[in-house]
Amino acid sequence: MTEQLLARPDAAPPFALQRPTHALVLESLERYLGPEEAAEIWLAACRVVRIDAEADQTPAHDLLKAVGALDVSDRLVATCATGLRIRLMSYMILADKQQGVSTMVRIERTTTGC
């Protein structure tokens, strides 16, 4: 049962929430930092967690890991990351709730990437 649920992490956007994407993350970073710096630091964060920054269908929990890898020593980046983290967490929690995935399974998936 758990494996089935994990196999479709973004199956149904909950409550009309837009599925988070790389584009959403980049747009937000650009508001704080400008386009060049935003692209640079997002690419660096994606490299750290080994996800493709160009992919269209990156699962929310992978995006969350990349947001967690942003260099938050910069106050602007830290503030932006907070907003993104809340948005991604909201989406994941509500999507999981909709699919019957427990909190513990979600935490395991987020930390292990499995």
């Binding site: 409550f15 009309a16 929430l17 959403l24 937000s28 508001r31 704080y32 106050r75 602007l76 830290a78 503030t79 932006c80 907070t82 907003g83 993104l84 809340i86 948005r87 967490m89 909201s90 989406y91 929690i93 509500l94 709730k97 909190t103």
Partner: protein, 195 residues
């Protein structure tokens, strides 16, 4: 056109007692995404981890004073609202420590820099189809905008509950007092490097 989070083409109707904010979608987006406002939030360290005991106590005291289950200091960012301090939240909002920005009641205060009061969310045109109402059962809300010394609306000091209710002048005076305390505390946290 007034903003309705789910049905943006719906016209807003007046709620009894308190005016419905007149803010267009473009004005809302411009306010939420204003770079200088986001920079102000960053300079105040408002999303730093850890609990600010003074803000936390203010949330608890405000909720108790108004007899409501929830008290919040919110910071409205471009993509989400962050709970800088909270009393009474449980479930997914506590776990996420915020909500998507388009579900935030406090964004109306940020966009208008005015108080936003909802006495009966099920019959309030701006929020009646908001998932916080339809899914989480929010029914009443009163928020005072938190405006920095540099003139930026950061978020709100607010209370909320799961039953509709009237907010008296005395209730709002009480809430304004807590908001004054909150913004003083927030200003005291301003990071020296940006002054």
């Amino acid at each position: 056109m007034l903003v309705n989070p789910i049905h943006p083409n719906s016209a807003a109707s007046a709620a009894p007692g308190f005016p419905v904010p007149a803010v267009t979608d473009a004005q809302m987006q411009a306010a939420l995404k204003q770079r200088e406002r986001l920079q102000e939030i960053a300079s105040l360290g408002l999303t730093s981890p850890g609990t600010d005991r003074i803000l936390q106590d203010a949330c608890t005291e405000a909720a108790n004073a108004l007899g409501l289950p929830i008290g919040l200091v919110t910071v409205v960012l471009d993509e989400a609202q962050h709970f800088a301090a909270q009393h009474g939240l449980q479930g997914w909002m506590e776990e996420a420590n915020g909500t998507p920005v388009e579900w935030s009641f406090c964004r109306f205060s940020v966009a208008t820099k005015e108080e936003f009061v909802v006495e009966d969310a099920e019959h309030h045109a701006l929020v009646q189809q908001n998932p916080l109402v339809t899914m989480d059962g929010l029914r009443c809300y009163a928020g005072i905008p938190l405006i920095s010394s540099r003139g930026f609306a950061l978020g709100s000091f607010c209370v909320a509950g799961t039953e509709s209710r009237r907010f008296s002048d005395s209730d709002l005076m009480t809430l304004r007092g807590f908001a004054v305390t909150a913004i003083a505390r927030i200003e005291a946290r301003r990071l020296p490097a940006n002054d």
